[in-house]
Assembly symmetry: C2
Homo-oligomer: 429 residues x 2
């Protein structure tokens, strides 16, 4: 692969100053961040981004879905946009890296390229996408931009109708505006995202960066184990139809099954609700929240079959009925193989160790993968903490992520981009 | 044993009419009753009792704890009172038999004795005790009457301060009045209660009545399994500290242990609360509600040791911390052996089959057992249902319960009572 500007690096001091400034918005005393999408602090972070982009003499654009962009135009007529993005919202009481790191890397890359006076074949766009974490509607911004969002998604916000309406009003957004944020796919040259790994594979292996091969498929099921309420003092244990026993046996067996039969996959029973839920009443109903994830679509289907069989078997064992309801079934999303090659080459150019690995978490990159060349870079998470104030990435790793993004953007957006992609494709054939 | 009035029987038609009339107050469409203590419908049931007692020319007394009594005085100076009682309150959406049956049996017994023109050596008192089921304060009426209730119990009502204050106002009760309801123990000749079994032992054995040997000891523990919240997509299953796994493994193992090592005892994990409780977050904390019951105090202590050891072992197995908090520890309450003998003799006089058996549920009789000769009679529960609209007892069994109470009251309250008790005592030695 040709190597247009191999020695260009981001400005570490400016990057750090930006990170520190942004981290103060919605900071929590425990070192985390609380910036649910469209909250005052989230909007404060977006205002900071807006102001910082303008100060860097980048063009600022906000679309109908609230996505905030800083643009570096190449000046060529009809140029496509290479998007470098992530999100500034956080989960409630989350960390300071999940999302903001990718947005700051993108902004820093644009500033670095602008200051270097380079001229690319594409427009560069650092984009902060709305509500990746789903305080209201998961990945609302990226799905609106890529045309995957429909009115029905807006009609059932996680936060409830009233809170969502208030949040939209606070941000000056409307349903019509959100749905009108869709862009023509031919205008997109690609999408790149730097993100923390949120796991411990890179740290454990001592590897600098991960090149994401794909984003796992995720399935959510609501399982209702139905037994019979009984007086806990007078109904002998052996004669009960105790919904808790079936639900608990399932939670244990599901873990065992995935550990044994599905290495690399995960399963979680993240919640159970007991009815009536009293010390002295045998549980009549236990409703369990089941989630499982696989990087492979066929495997995801096999997990569904095995886990539901398991739930049925445990229900039967304790003389219970079982009701199952699928709430989400998102297929795995492979990342573009040419882009993976470009990212790996960028890491090598920077003398960084790298490894291919699937993402266990969902990301905005999913929204773009069907429409344009899409890729992600992971940097190590200390201790694997995620969605937690303990979330942290060593600063040198953050800088690595930004420089990989810079080099990959130069490769994808440079004059040689067409040839680059061709080379990558050849090497894969 | 002497047998003063062996052929006296209650009036079945009047008894049935009373049961049907009372069942209409707070009736639910599914055949149950909803009369939580001090609710409008509970107070309506008490008003009905009051009116019915006055119509039967019995003396009506209401004490500071709201306990409603109908009295049949023997006319002897300084006569003690033989209490025949139970409660008119129900659990929310409960059945029509649990409590009311015992009060109606008592009222019917007084009417029968009064109409027979018999004169006993004791005052007879049919008593409806306040809040046996603990909508506000468990067994408030019987504990107030026997001096076991203290201000601290009133300060922490199950229903919360506001609901309790409203309920007291509705019933015209005050804290001071409740605490002043205590009676001098020497004024009590005994306490007898007819109740549905709430289990299926009598029905299964085809036995007419159960003579209660004692009321089980009950222990409530709150167990908190403490792990670590993690992203369910990115933290490998084997590296988690999943609080749900420890709690679920405990719930299963506790059942196995009690079935294997504690025949005749019961255990229940009636509730679990997950924190944070989401599809995509590994549970950090699961709080489980543990209850176990034993008719034997030493056994109750051994269960405590074994079950807490089990909880610790399961917590350790999944790398969790465990916090335990004992919320209730009520020792088993043996029933008076002389009274058991009187009840068994009464059943035999009526040609009813009978069996000794422990009560798996708590009852107002517990409050009296330390102060005066106390006993209980159980009648069979169809299908063992309890605290449910499905709760039912065949009418012939209800009549049997009332007649056993009548014969036992005559034996304990008759002129021969002193000799009776002496005879019973002799036969036990």
């Amino acid at each position: 692969m040709s190597d247009p500007f191999p020695h260009l690096r981001i400005d570490e001091d400016r990057f750090r100053a930006g990170f520190d400034a942004l981290s103060r918005i919605g900071a929590t005393p425990d070192g985390g961040a609380h910036r649910p999408a469209l909250s005052e602090d989230h909007l404060g972070a977006r205002a900071w981004f807006h102001e910082r982009a303008e100060r860097a003499e980048l063009e600022v654009h906000v679309d109908g879905a609230g996505n905030h962009s800083a643009r570096l135009r190449c000046g060529l007529p009809g140029a496509r946009a290479l998007l470098l993005g992530s999100h500034l919202d956080s989960v409630p009481h989350g960390g300071r890296y999940d999302g903001p790191l990718g947005v700051l890397c993108a902004l820093e890359v644009l500033q670095t390229i602008r200051e270097a006076g380079l001229s690319l074949a594409v427009d560069l766009e650092a984009i902060d996408l709305t509500d990746e974490e789903g305080a209201h509607v998961s990945m609302m911004g990226s799905r609106a931009l890529t045309g995957a969002l429909r009115e029905e998604h807006l009609a059932h916000p996680h936060s409830g109708d009233e809170a969502f309406a208030q949040a939209l009003a606070r941000a000056g957004l409307t349903h019509d505006g959100i749905l009108a944020a869709q862009r023509d796919p031919v205008s997109l040259a690609g999408y790149l995202e730097v993100h923390i790994e949120q796991g411990s594979r890179l740290e454990r292996a001592g590897t600098d960066v991960g090149v994401v091969t794909g984003i796992v498929g995720i399935t959510w099921y609501r399982l209702r184990f139905l037994g019979r309420a009984d007086h806990s003092g007078t109904r002998p244990v052996a004669e009960r139809r105790d919904a808790a026993q079936g639900a608990c046996a399932f939670a244990l067996a599901a873990r065992e099954t995935v550990l044994r039969d599905y290495p690399g996959c995960v399963v979680n029973v993240g919640d159970m609700r007991f009815e009536p839920g009293a010390f002295n009443v045998v549980p009549a109903v236990v409703t369990a929240a089941l989630e499982y994830r696989s990087p492979d679509g066929d495997q995801q289907h096999r997990m569904e079959r095995d886990l539901l069989d398991l739930a049925r078997a445990q229900a039967e064992r304790f003389d219970l009925e079982l009701e199952t309801e699928c709430l989400e079934a998102i297929a795995p999303t492979p990342m573009d193989e040419r882009v993976q090659h470009i990212l790996a080459s960028a890491a090598e150019r920077l003398c960084l160790t790298h490894t291919p690995l699937p993402s266990g978490a969902g990301h905005d990159a999913q929204s773009f993968a069907d429409l344009c060349p899409t890729g992600m870079v992971f940097v190590p998470s200390v201790g694997g903490y995620s969605h937690s104030p303990q979330e942290r990435t060593r600063w040198a790793d953050c800088v690595n992520g930004a420089n990989v993004l810079l080099q990959a953007a130069l490769a994808m957006g440079g004059a040689e981009i067409g040839q680059d992609l061709q080379d990558s494709q050849d090497s894969l054939d």
